[in-house]
C-alpha cells in the first residue's frame, strides 16, 4: 500500500525533543531553577512516542527512500538531544566540590562586606543587627 502523505509524526517528535531540551532555558534559566528536570523528561517521553510512530511509518512498505533518510536523521537528532539533556541535568550537574570546609549548623557564619548591584557595601554583621536572620544564598552566576 502506497503512503506518500506527510510524515508529521516524526517532525512533531523531533520538535518536541527540541522543546524538551530547551524547556529549562526558556522557562527558568539554567542557573535558577527548582526541579524542572521532570517536565523535560515528560516532554521527552511524548517526543519518543511520536518519533517511534513516525519511524515505523517511514520504514513501512510503500514509503520512499527520502522519507526513510529524513526519519532516520530526525530520530538521531532527537536521541542526541535526549542524551545531552541527561548528561547535563543528571551527570554534569553533580560535578560539584565536596565543600567539606563549609560552616556547619551551630557554627558562626563568617562575616563579609561586598558590593551590591549599586556598588554599595553590604555586610552580614550590619544586616544581622537589623534583622532576625539572614537567608544567605550562593549561586553560580548569570551566564
Amino acid at each position: 500500500m502506497k503512503d506518500d502523505g506527510f510524515n508529521w509524526q516524526i517532525l512533531v517528535g523531533f520538535l518536541l525533543s527540541l522543546l524538551a531540551f530547551s524547556y529549562p532555558l526558556l522557562f527558568s534559566g539554567w542557573s535558577l531553577g527548582s526541579d524542572i528536570r521532570w517536565a523535560s523528561v515528560a516532554l521527552f517521553v511524548f517526543a519518543a512516542v511520536f518519533v517511534i510512530v513516525g519511524l515505523r511509518r517511514a520504514f513501512a512498505s510503500g514509503r520512499g527512500k527520502l522519507s526513510k533518510v529524513i526519519a532516520a536523521v530526525l530520530t538521531l537528532f532527537s536521541a542526541f538531544t535526549l542524551g545531552l539533556f541527561i548528561f547535563l541535568a543528571f551527570i554534569m550537574a553533580t560535578w560539584l566540590p565536596k565543600s567539606v570546609g563549609a560552616p556547619q549548623v551551630g557554627q558562626k557564619a563568617a562575616d563579609f562586606s561586598l558590593a551590591d548591584t549599586s556598588n554599595k557595601q553590604v555586610s552580614l554583621a550590619e544586616t544581622l543587627s537589623k534583622q532576625k536572620g539572614v537567608l544567605l544564598v550562593f549561586y553560580r552566576g548569570y551566564w
Binding site: 529549562p24 527558568s28 534559566g29 539554567w30 542557573s31 535558577l32 531553577g33 527548582s34 526541579d35 524542572i36 528536570r37 541535568a89 543528571f90 550537574a93 553533580t94 560539584l96 566540590p97 565543600s99 567539606v100 570546609g101 563549609a102 560552616p103 556547619q104 549548623v105 551551630g106 557554627q107 558562626k108 557564619a109 563568617a110 562575616d111 563579609f112 561586598l114 558590593a115 551590591d116 548591584t117 549599586s118 556598588n119 553590604v122 552580614l124 554583621a125 544586616t127 544581622l128 543587627s129 537589623k130 534583622q131 532576625k132 536572620g133 539572614v134 537567608l135 544567605l136 544564598v137 550562593f138 549561586y139 553560580r140 552566576g141 548569570y142 551566564w143
Partner: protein, 108 residues
C-alpha cells in the same frame, strides 16, 4: 532565587533578609535583578574571598580558569550562628522556598 522572590513578603514578616552572592560583577547582577524583579541584595564576590571562606569555590566550573560559587543556602540567626544549611548535590536543584520559609519562621 525566583522562589525566594515570590515569597519575599513572607520572609520579611518572618524578619529574614535574603542575600545572594555570586562571582558576577554588580552590573551583571543588576541585569539579573532587573530581568527577574529581584528586590533583595545581590552581592558581588569576583575575587572569591567570601566564597572561599565558606569553602564553596567550584574551580574551573564554566571553563578552564573560571571559578564560581557552588550553589548553597544558609539560614543565619541574629547572633551570626548558622541554623540550617543546604548544599545541593546537583546544581539544577535548589532548596524548596516553602522549606526555607518554615525554617526561617522557626528561628527564635
Amino acid at each position: 532565587m525566583r522562589g525566594i522572590q515570590q515569597n519575599i513578603d513572607k520572609f520579611a514578616s518572618a524578619g529574614i533578609q535574603p542575600i545572594a552572592i555570586s562571582v558576577d560583577p554588580p552590573e551583571t547582577s543588576r541585569e539579573l535583578a532587573e530581568r527577574h524583579g529581584f528586590t533583595f541584595p545581590i552581592l558581588s564576590d569576583p575575587t572569591l574571598e567570601t566564597i572561599s571562606k565558606y569553602d564553596l569555590v567550584h574551580e574551573n566550573a564554566v571553563e578552564e580558569g573560571v571559578s564560581v560559587a557552588r550553589p548553597a543556602e544558609f539560614l543565619i540567626d541574629s547572633s551570626g550562628t548558622i541554623r540550617w544549611l543546604n548544599l545541593t548535590e546537583n546544581y539544577w536543584l535548589r532548596a524548596n522556598p516553602a522549606d526555607m520559609l518554615e525554617k526561617a519562621r522557626a528561628l527564635p
